[in-house]
Symmetry: D2
Subunit: 507 residues, 4 copies
């Protein structure tokens, strides 16, 4: 296949895909499934959770929900759309009574999000009420659901997160905590959980710690969140990360009991994409600044793939920290070759043809005043489909850039995720079937370099990668999955759980 | 208590009540809980069900839902509000694919209707999907729910109708029909059911036949409905009433199998209020015209309580048939003393004070041109709280009527219902604690008469009432309940099932 | 043309028309354009106006608006839809501050009603604010608008009612009353007006009194309304009808000044359709009960066209009063051959094909229990397109009626209206091109009779009709128009005023 | 007043203000009133205008409107909210037919924006239709409106922009262009206009060129816009800035006729705030890159007010370009001390108390990982109320910053604007009544410096400022207003035009 044929084939496939998706170029990067948050023993838990979820909004924008408990009843409110649009009104927050509660902000990997799938889920069990919020994805959801239906369970949703609640309902455990712990033994995959009962706020993290969960304090009140940035917004302080395989039970008096449900793994394996892409730069993971970690990636990249150019510029905002690191390491001036639009969250739905073509431009504008006649090093945190990068490079050239060199602050992404990150199919994943030179051809960059796998481990202070005990969940780069993939192994592919239900809802 | 004290006390109690209710004087009569409809083996089942539900709209105006099946998947759509407002758009109906389906139109007896309580309910069972629509009320719902939760069931709703589905899910029955029949053995109370499975449309009626269910045909396709008026609208023909304790299983090829699940009662006892009030005048019950039955009530009333007046007039529209019967029997001219407003369905919600007082007038206007200086016999089908009747009598006098004589075409209502009719509390029920003369005092009518109990049975061709085997469910007049009242007996009052759930939903 | 050809041609034309209209068979009768209401010198004028408009809702259902004045500012609220849906909330009414105000309820004769066309219209003039509500239609609107635009006027709406305000703005009159009176001299056609200024509530009626306007009192506060039924609802008392060509100026202290702006006509000519069809039965026109007038029409009809049948029945509700009159005059029993649906106000918009055919049935159900094997005299107030009557007759036959005899309580309608009634085109108007026998053929009735022109004048106590000085505006029956038709004469047809504007608004 | 008293007084005043405003800290900077856009001679003008307005969204977020012309009729659509939310749907855009049109995006300086005030305004004039979009503010609006009402004009809006249309309607000019030019002679103040007639797209700019307007080409089609960034998004090329006092008439065949309506000023005086704050960094003003102009301000600031610190950081995004300039000039590392939230456009309306305090944090998060123990130079483009800066400085300290030095890349703002920028009252304007040291005390910064007036002129290549012929409109810094202030001089303050209307609309 010649270079031109490769480009034509790439464009055709992407265009087909683009027409299927509602929001054209809406967000070409990987997507996280959820952010979770919980608190107990404070006042106005509802308002605190709303703020916490707002701080975690980047982890899921489709829907959000909050459940609180006031010592007597549980109060639930779930809505499609952004937290600030739905949970900022005092009237709404005042209905969420009580001093403990949990919240969830959701991005769904499947077609349409219906309200009944929005978390937290609630159920009246024998021992009282339970509400649950889950970040992650189970790899035996389909098999498990079939089995539970045979036992007489009626599923309210098509979400794998409901499995925890159904399992707890069937458990013979005498306390709610026991029922919850029971439920963990039947699931496989990745999870961070916030669970609310009448007495306690429970947090749990899967045996190898794929999805993140941190513990903090607001005054004396225990707080759980997916990321530390949620603590900053409500004025809470960070205490520690929940361990892989640990369950913490938090009480209104401030006590936090820890139960190591699964034996501590020799090597925890948190998901690399939290550091590379998902987490907010001002969050800390295991005590380390995400901003500094990303600057480190940029510096390492500068070492591995320097460039003789006039300036360094990020693809904003995702590439900012790495670009600053790259600029500092090389001494090249840091400039804004691209200006980020302020109103891109607002997607042009069902765009008319003439608007569709302006897709990339609405998100980023070339800054002709900065780049005319210049050679530019363009830095981004990762490369997924390549669609946006290709459009941006073309846009920079059209605005007068003499050369555009693309530098990616992580290795090529080649394998799908099954733990709660929405990865495109292999044929859409640019690096899955191409070498660097083929990618450079398609992107029409003057040069292209990725950070090496060992370089990435190095930048994170864990390098080089130990093949037998890697320090991270890194299957997207390596194909090395940290858990069994039961459903995939039995069915050749992870069938969507939606297909198990015969129901198609209109509203 | 003097007459004036009685009136003052009456008004005070009613006013207090009125302020609590959102729609003032919105509907002062008894309320039915539901209308149900099902069809199998036709084209565009969704559109037919929408029409059928529209014809049954008088049985419940709060919400409606439809579930259809197209041989592959079930399609569900449930919405708050009227059928015509929600299910008349071709876009909506086209999404309800397939040739079989069921529908439900709902009036709820409890505070706020939340969407998750709207029927039909759907569940994926081991043997396939099931959808269910229920008219009636269970009298052991609370006890049964507690037991099911202990077994690990998670309830999606606070409606007693979900019990049937949960019981079917737990049943070991090998077929869906067996599972459904299993579920009937654990419930007590009143029910008419339409159930949809992948193979069949199932109809069922409680052992004594309290709630109605009729079978018809649209061409060859079997149809089930609460009333025959639904058949008229879609052009179907009436075949027969489902028997008490009978389950019918209808197939797409037109077959209808009957299974008498409970032994035929010696004496079926359909609810009298269907004939008196709920059913549309153009419906037929057990082959008899409801319009003619009500005219008969009016004629019997004329015999029992004649009146020397200038004219007979109904409270429209509820009293029209009885007033025509009364006028024909007495030879007095039939006139419209009251004009019914066309836009009363539209309630003035949260009315300003000055509007609230105009409540009755918005529903009925006095027709001064017809009544000035005249003595009027006013006929209505029943008397519940007396609030509206009192206001109407005052309005007629103010418009110039010389005398107003009130005639009620059924006996005094003195006992609450537990089978799906929303009866006010004893202290609001005018006849519960007063004799006829005391009621006349409060209503300020020139005379007041009720039809006698035996007269009513007589008018329906079943009289006089056989105390040991009454031909109808008539506890509202007699206190003679046709089934056990398990929850009431254990708990002194039928506690709201909502109180069993710890969840308070905002939306 | 044979009978069958005539029917086929009739059906084809009507079907074509029906597909064009959003609501199939939504309302096959003539339509009034508006109801108006005004009050001054009371408390909470907004709430009173809302009630008054609700009582006038039958005169226009598309939109409603209210303007009040609190001594300082004018408060305006206009909304699409019904009064009760929009103006019953205390929050809405509380924003309409002050003790004087006017309201308008609108049916528009043109395609889409846009909000800017909803009345009352408001303008800041040199001498203060003015708000205006108009019932009727101008016959020189088009010519006048062109002239005003040449002078520099900018029209906010495409409604002819704005002309009054523009003319007042240009007037050199020193007071607001003078400006208003000035405006009346430049318009031709039909109008009843309610006008609000900072000092007064002004009422006006066109020189021959085509459209109605009545004066009443709520306590001491003057009230104006299109019909007396609006007085009943707010508890006001009727005082008198405004005279043709009269302007009344009402003040907050209760004073009502009368100015006869146009010389009193020798013979006022109120529009006959108010008595026959538009006015509510409980309204009084010139002191006469509309209900009794219509019963008179029925009695006269019985005299002119008796029938040997088993029963008399109205097409409800429009034919009720005439049917009662007919039954009383003939001695035949009055029965309900048709049951009116309660939820017909709710149109099935964009109905699916299978629903569309059920159109008539949704509005009226045949009462098989009453008519089986019987010969029925069916009475209605008027016959316009014939579509509904034809469908009803077929429905009655199908439900078992042996014979159906149609009696119409007014003469055949043969000419269009230009004064605010929406008449169908000549080819849709059944009587415009057919004699009685041809119409009977199409309707497939066993017999058909209309009331005679002189018989109608007789029934109203004004007969027989005086050709030189007829007592009513009756051009729809006679072609005798009471005013010049300037626009029609100049342009062969009354072109829609919308066509004068170059603007097409999306929202 | 001691430092602590000064701070307390400052906080009290700001807090009072904050409670009044719906969105707390929603946007503490100055606000522009509008962006305008026009095109003629292309296909699908509606879609192009939507894109153009989206690119100008930063100039006004409250509402947007588009009017197009298709050779036959004008099509108008105006909506509250963002362009992307309202004008991205193909259905909406398809209704905006034709190849020419104008658009407007609005921020209003007054309380509530009502839909009737949303531009473009349309009117049917004697010579045809006219639509107008205006950026700027008139300084004789109130006097002029009074005069026009006396002549019989009826104003549809309370916007001063309608004056142009009313004046054109009254003009005796024989062509639409003549009428438009006539209208310009009666107004005073600032304006850039896009006007659409049936033949032409007209652009106009006030005599000294306060508000901006640029001319471009899309293929052969002339395009007008407030800023060049709108050209980039639709793929048009920049041609030139419209001159002060110039009217350009653009035709569908690509011709652009220029008429210098007012004599060219010796010295044009564009508004400085376009360069400093309003314009997007990728726009060009008079051929100069806004990004480079702002970097120049930062470099000049570094020269005037250097600082011995560990790093330079912007308040993002407003201070980014100046901070890069400052960092390059000083050699200090550029870092992100603050992370900007992605979802701040979404304001927490009516926030609960506990949420309100988190106001600043929702917009910016301190990046503890970058600043712990460091001395930070914080750069912003301007300082208005100081509220946000104060909160940010405190937040940085709390996150561990050792020192915070604030540098402002323009002089202190001390005087209100009357030309379309929403400036706070003198008591809210931090620099209006305080010297630099007092401000530093209140902000609690370690040091504070502003760019000097001459330094700013210098950075823009025009310095030092020529007192007799300054090159910019700079009254906010100097009090030197470039036009008469008729309304202010006559009335002591510019009374809101809203107060001239007696109408208060509910909806």
């Amino acid at each position: 296949m010649s270079k031109n044929e490769a480009i034509a084939s790439f464009l055709k496939r992407q265009a087909g895909k683009a027409q299927e998706t509602a929001g054209y170029f809406a967000d070409p990067k990987l997507k996280e499934e959820c952010g979770i948050f919980g608190i107990i023993g404070c006042e106005d838990a509802g308002a605190k959770i709303a703020l916490g979820l707002h701080a975690l909004q980047h982890r899921g924008q489709e829907a959000a929900g909050i459940v609180t408990f006031d010592g007597d009843r549980f109060y639930s409110d779930k809505r499609m759309g952004l937290v600030a649009d739905n949970f900022s009104d005092a009237k709404v927050l005042n209905r969420l009574k009580g001093g403990s509660g949990i919240g969830h902000t959701r991005y769904s990997t499947t077609g349409e999000t219906v309200l009944r799938n929005v978390q937290p889920f609630f159920a009246d069990l024998d021992r009282g009420g339970i509400a649950l919020a889950h970040n992650g994805n189970l790899t035996n959801a389909r098999s498990l659901r079939k089995e539970l239906i045979r036992k007489g369970c009626i599923f309210q949703t098509t979400s794998d997160s409901e499995h925890f609640v159904q399992l707890a309902a069937l458990s013979r455990g005498m306390s709610m905590v026991d029922k919850v712990i029971d439920s963990l033994h039947d699931v496989e995959g990745a999870y961070a959980l916030c669970i609310l009962t009448q007495n306690a706020l429970i947090g749990a993290r899967d045996p190898v710690g794929i999805r993140p969960l941190v513990l903090g304090r607001l005054g004396n009140a225990p707080v759980l969140a997916s990321e530390t940035c949620a603590f900053d917004l409500i004025g809470a302080t960070y205490e520690r990360d929940i361990h892989p395989g640990e369950v913490v039970v938090c009480y209104a008096d401030g006590r936090v009991e820890s139960r190591q449900v699964f034996s501590k793994p020799d090597q925890p394996r948190p998901c690399l994409f939290e550091m590379i892409y998902f987490a907010r730069p001002n969050s800390f993971i295991d005590g380390k600044s995400v901003y500094q970690l990303r600057k480190q990636l940029g510096k390492q990249l500068a070492k591995e793939a320097p460039c003789d150019a006039d300036m360094v510029s990020p693809i904003p905002d995702s590439g900012v920290a790495a670009a600053i690191g790259y600029a500092q390491a090389t001494g090249l001036p840091y400039e804004m070759a691209l200006i980020r639009g302020h109103y891109v969250g607002r997607t042009f739905i069902q765009p008319a043809q003439s608007i569709r073509e302006a897709g990339v431009k609405r998100k980023h504008s070339a800054n002709a005043g900065a780049i005319k006649g210049k050679s530019v090093v363009l830095v981004d945190d990762s490369l997924v489909r390549g669609t946006t990068s290709r459009a941006i490079i073309a846009m920079l050239r059209k605005a007068g850039a003499r050369e555009v060199h693309l530098r990616i602050a992580c290795p090529p992404i080649q394998h799908p995720d099954y733990y709660g990150i929405d990865t495109p199919s292999r044929e859409e994943l640019l690096a899955a079937t191409r070498n660097t030179e083929e990618m450079r051809d398609i992107l029409e960059a003057d040069s292209l370099s990725f950070l090496s796998l060992d370089g990435m481990y190095e930048a994170f202070g864990k390098g080089p990668r130990q093949k037998d005990a890697p320090a991270f969940t890194d299957h997207c780069f390596t194909g090395d999955y940290p858990t069994p993939l039961t459903d995939r192994d039995r069915q050749s592919s992870i069938a969507k759980i939606e297909q198990l239900s015969l129901l198609a809802e209109s509203s």
